[in-house]
Amino acid sequence: MPIDKRAGSPTEALADVPDGATVLITGFGGAGFPNVLIRALRDRGAKGLTLVVNSATHRYSLTHELIEAGLVRKVICTAARGRGNEPSPFERLWMEGRIELECVPQGTFTERIRAGGAGIPAFYTPVGAGTELARGKEVRSFEGRDHVLEPAIKGDLALVRADTADRYGNLAFRYTQLNFAPVMAMAARTTVAEVRALLDEPMAHDRVQLPGAFVDRVIAVGG
């Protein structure tokens, strides 16, 4: 059967997300947030989610809607601080002990996800050695320097924002939309991408930034 990864709607694309899923969500600095899919995930209503997302509270991301809806059990992120003086929804739940937080240095965050998709169960990094983020972790010396053992991160689902896709799931990105998309798509069992536009023709090979082999469903959302 000819491959066709185009989904009918965001709702359809996320219809099989179960309670307790680990969900990887792209986006950094304002670019590449899959906000249509995030809202569809909220409407899907699966509970007890673990979110793997750079920021728990970024002002341009709708991740906070999942948190406010009480669907999130744990967040693995690099930034959990809201902008204002008032605590963000995440910060409020975290301080009340109702949501778990794992704060990770950003390079370790992305490399743990990369490892998850690349068949590496854990790796040593010098980042974090001698700090409280290494507490309880195995430390080993290489080349005369302490390194921290960090485990891979894998997900059940990755939500990705890209610019264009073809029916094969090949993705191209605008500027800094790219950020975590390649590693998250590889580390998740199922990857769903929202794109500005679907191409009628197959994408030229030298335009593909994330091969469709790592993408399961695509949906055009405009924007």
Binding site: G29, E91, C103, T110, I113, V127, T131, P182
Partner: protein
């Protein structure tokens, strides 16, 4: 007593004068990003941003702003000629792998052995934010800091040992403050430049770690630069 301490932009200007030609530089949020505005005209550098930009240009004007082109601080930027954009794993491989020549970071505290604390002030009601600070501090080839010499209450930020959670150990090589330029090496803190009219005693009173004054210690100077608004 000395003349006015340097303001934030003058501190960025002073740090910018030391950036060498042809380097790859990462500038932290806050004061350090302003370093890009004061590079010497003959210097050609690539500014890396953790979200994958290699060759960040000036901030985007309203006519050319693009919400998909941002830096790690969510600022809408432009690209310089020859720029490239990579994904996050590649960007941090670049940082961890020692391919950043200089990073200039903000800080809360720096210790005499080069320990850096710049990510967690333990604010009540606020969550932690580490971002790429630990990766940059641990792995850039040269780590420099721009920060005010003391807190607003006058407590020193240059200390024998940091009191706040560390970002990385023994990483800072140079600190630009509003009062002085200080190198950190095996002998601890060495003052390279100090404000005119300030005595060694004055500076020691504002510093929480032993200071050595370089034999060729110079006067810290910067041109007048007005702070916006």
């Amino acid at each position: 007593m000395p003349v006015e301490p340097l303001n934030r932009l003058q501190m960025a200007w002073r740090a910018a004068q030391d950036i060498g030609d042809g380097l790859v530089v990462n500038l932290g949020l806050g004061m350090p990003v302003h370093v890009a505005d004061y590079l010497r005209p003959e210097v050609d550098v690539f500014i890396q941003s953790e979200n994958g930009v290699i060759g960040a240009g000036p901030l985007a004007s309203p006519e050319v702003v693009d919400t998909d082109l941002v830096d790690a601080g969510s600022r809408r930027i432009t690209l310089r000629p020859g720029a490239a954009i990579v994904d996050s794993a590649w960007s941090f491989a670049m940082i961890r792998g020692g391919h950043i020549d200089v990073t200039i970071l903000g800080a809360f505290e720096v210790a005499a052995n080069g320990d850096l604390a710049n990510w967690d002030m333990r604010l009540p009601d606020k969550g932690p934010l580490v971002g790429g600070a630990m990766d940059l501090a641990a792995c850039a080839r040269e780590v420099q800091v721009i920060m005010e010499h003391t807190t607003r209450k006058g407590a020193p930020r240059l200390l024998e040992a940091c009191t706040l959670p560390l970002t990385a150990v023994r990483c800072v090589r140079r600190v630009y403050t509003d009062l002085a330029v200080i190198d950190i090496g095996p002998a601890g803190m060495v003052v390279r430049e100090m404000q005119e009219g300030m005595s060694e005693v004055d500076l020691r009173q504002r510093t929480g770690a032993p200071l050595t004054f370089a034999p060729d210690c110079r006067v810290l100077v910067a041109p007048p630069i007005a702070l916006p608004g």
